[in-house]
């Protein structure tokens, strides 16, 4: 198996949205029509004033542009790289109907954010009087970072807890390298830190610090803990050598030193993370990468542009295929997947046609690495310990406008609420909760 070190790994992941030069950014900014009540702004979950920041790029007010972005979304840097803009701001651009060329909003946002971070990443000091109230954020991913930043900017004291050694959550550990690099994620963490937010890392709430302690010490608690490990979904053989779930693979190549990739890799699942994992395997040296998905291409949840990326990376797709068990050789390593062909029946609860196995269609697919990517588990065990916080399908129930849970002391946002959406959705959820928490505290304590 090929083995790569960190530098070699980085070399295989050229950025998919390279930065603009200053001149190119100016030309692109000048194309913006400066729509009123712009659809791109409405489409952005954090409602960044897109025409506003683009206008500022066109007047060479790059700092103002960056602050316009950060005012709505403290994670403007990572969002400029990871947002699926095709189904958000750029997908809503009116220029689709003008000359079929939407403004490259993501790259323009990156241009402003790069300038901000390259020139010292200094946020303006707001002379807010410190407030005597404190908030704990559980989890240090995008939702908590956005929540903590918004509260800190309003003068509240915020502590963020996370069990891992680095903050940033999936931005640091789980986003494909060609979209976002760990260093950039950590720059954002540092920006939130610069607002006075305290980070307690390597600290798992409920293990190294009891939940009850948090309830006693803090006025309010924000749950931004995301989701758990990748689902196993009854695949027999998980745990053998050569079976690595998608998020572990991505976290390892991004933050650990060495990584080993198989020659013939089978990825199981049809979501965006499955694509990221498959592309990673291809870029890290696999000779052949296959994606096994139980439905057909039209039902695949991955975005169209992600599918296209996989195709351009040489990934092949086995539609209507389910892996049932992992076969191992004498050394205990994966040698094959036992698969079965599926047929699509009537629509299920999700509105998609349910796959059913075709009797007698079983076959063996040879491979020496298996990457399951079939969704993340819910952290039900921990969440059910949060008193009176109602869960539905393992996700926290909240008021969508405030992020308030059924226990008024707890607010929540991000993947643990929405079941797993994008970074920008988590940022929006965290910010909305922070605004509601601040309003609540002001009402209670003035």
């Amino acid at each position: 198996m090929p083995s790569l070190n960190r530098q070699e790994i980085a070399g295989h992941f050229a950025e998919i949205h390279p930065p603009f030069t200053q001149q190119a950014a100016l030309a692109e900014a000048n194309r913006c029509l400066f729509c009123f009540d712009a659809p791109c702004t409405i489409a952005c979950p954090t409602h960044i004033d897109v025409p506003g920041f683009i206008k500022k790029i066109s007047t060479a007010n790059l700092r103002g542009s960056a602050l316009t972005i950060l005012d709505s979304n403290i994670l403007g840097l990572s969002c400029s790289r990871v947002c699926p803009v095709e189904v958000l701001c750029e997908g809503s651009c009116v220029l689709h109907r003008y000359n079929q060329r939407p403004i490259e909003i993501g790259r323009l946002q990156r241009h402003a954010m790069d300038h901000f971070y390259d020139t010292g990443a200094k946020l303006p000091v707001r002379n807010r009087k410190p407030r005597m109230r404190s908030i704990a954020c559980v989890g240090a991913g995008p939702a908590s970072l956005a929540c903590a930043a918004e509260l800190a900017r309003r003068g509240y004291s915020v502590t963020v807890f996370d069990s891992r050694p680095y903050a940033g959550g999936l931005n640091t550990y789980g986003v494909a390298e060609y979209k976002l690099r760990p260093d950039d994620s950590l720059k954002e963490v540092e920006l939130v830190h610069s607002l006075g937010v305290t980070f307690e890392l390597n600290t798992e709430v409920g293990v190294s610090v009891p939940l009850e302690t948090l309830e006693q010490v803090y006025d309010l608690i924000f749950l931004g803990l995301g989701l758990g490990p990748t689902e196993s979904l009854g695949l027999k053989g998980v745990g053998v050598k050569g079976v690595v779930d998608a998020l572990t693979l991505i976290a390892d190549y991004k933050t650990a030193g060495n990584i080993q990739i198989g020659r013939r890799v089978a990825v199981i699942g049809g979501g965006n993370t499955a694509i990221d994992a498959a592309c990673a395997a291809a870029r890290l040296g696999a000779e052949e990468v296959l994606i096994l998905y139980r439905r057909g291409r039209d039902q695949m949840p991955a975005f169209e542009f992600e599918f296209e990326r996989a195709q351009s990376d040489g990934v092949r797709f086995h539609w209507l295929t389910v892996a049932r068990s992992v076969k191992t050789g004498g050394d205990g390593r994966v040698t094959a997947l036992e698969c079965v062909r599926m047929d699509l029946g009537a629509s299920d609860a999700s509105g998609r046609r349910a796959p059913t196995a075709i009797a007698g269609s079983e076959f063996l697919l040879e491979c020496d690495m298996v990457i399951p990517s079939i969704g993340q588990t819910r952290l039900v065990e921990f969440l059910s310990r949060c008193r009176n916080v109602e869960l539905r399908d393992g996700c926290v129930v909240t008021d969508p406008h405030t992020g308030r849970t059924t226990n008024p002391m707890f607010y929540a946002g991000g993947d643990c609420v929405n079941g797993g959406l994008e970074v920008v959705d988590a940022a929006a959820g965290g910010k909305r909760a922070a605004i509601a928490m601040a309003a609540h505290l002001e009402e209670q304590h003035g």
């Binding site: 009123f36 009540d37 409405i42 979950p45 409602h47 997908g91 009116v94 920008v424």
Partner: protein, 449 residues
Amino acid sequence: MADLSTKFAGIRSPNPFWLASGPPANCGEQVMRAFDAGWGGAVWKTLGEPIVNVSSRYSSVDWNGQRMMGLNNIELITDRPLDVNLREIAEVKKRYPNHAVIASLMVESKRQAWHDIVRRSEDAGSDGLELNFGCPHGMSERGMGSAVGQVPEYAEMITGWVKEAARTPVLVKLTPNVTDIRAIARAAKRAAADGLSAINTINSITGIDLDTLVPRPFVNHASSHGGYCGPAVKPIALHMIQQIAADPDSALPISGIGGISGWREAAEFMLLGAGTVQVCTAVMHYGFRIVEDMIDGLSNWMDSKGFATLDDFRGRSLPNLTEWQHLDLNYKIIARIHPEKCIGCCLCYVACWDGAHQCIHMDRAGNRHVAPQTLEAESRRSLAFTPVNVPAPDPNLTPPHRIPRVDEEECVGCNLCMLVCPVDGCITMERVDNGLPSQSWSQRMGESR
């Protein structure tokens, strides 16, 4: 194909496109290459006593990423010896006998000096003379250029001196830096000038470097006002051409100048009476080659309109310009938005609310007559989740709630929405029959008396 040949104030040229007196007509080599590219004539860079120029000399105004919407210069007249220029004029005329070569002249305000330069220019073979009474910078401080062109008596006197000596047609080039350009045009006509050239450049300061705080263009740590030209000045020039052409005491053959960079502007100047047009900035920007489309575009337009010669449409728009008091107060148009073309930018809506008469509304999908700020605040409170476009709408269809609607009762027909709309033909101004007879303000005042 339309006939573009021109006879202007007695000067013949194969087409009406002349190089204006300026850097593109600085030397014979340039002028000959311009004629090869298709230019019909050239007004030579102004001849006079040798001067010394500064560096730098030009600055410009860019707009939304486009360069040189307006150009400003502080360059003076030719810095080449007079005899070299005259020798080159003779050479050009020998090689291009059918093209127009006009000598632009500026000397000190002495009768003999003017007589001398007129004779020498004509001896070199120039087809006509253009008196530079317009240059607004540098030379004017020495009592020449616009210092002459701003005082009708001086302009008349010097034109008279030139006419005493001239055997070829004399054009007077007018400065726009006056209260009423007709005063100078009338002075030139009184002195028996054969034609007018208008306009020269407009006094300007194009901008200031926001790091050094020194206006542009810099000459070391200082600047000086210059003369403005280029696309930005066209409307000002057109107005002055019309003023001259519509005034019987001013009217002479006019060579139109000011922001002409293509055939469309050329046609506009001619529709207001210009016999030829002169171009400088557009050549400085793109080179002599631009004349190809000027010739091609103008003749195609003439063919499509059924104009065989330039005289068929020269001045044709003059009767369509009148004083405000004669406009029909009962003529009523209103804006109409064509939903199938609307892309949903809402620029017309905010323009009408903030910049006009509050008669465009976002109420097609519900009855919401709200101010822009209210609408925007509502949007910012809305929830959006990824992906916003699933199930994907047809990206070619604008959602109905994004298509503004005109309140036709309230619309005053000002045109603003149509002007800001980025889509051709999406907002049209349409005639409303209000049953009222045509009535101008002057008629209404007459009736009320």
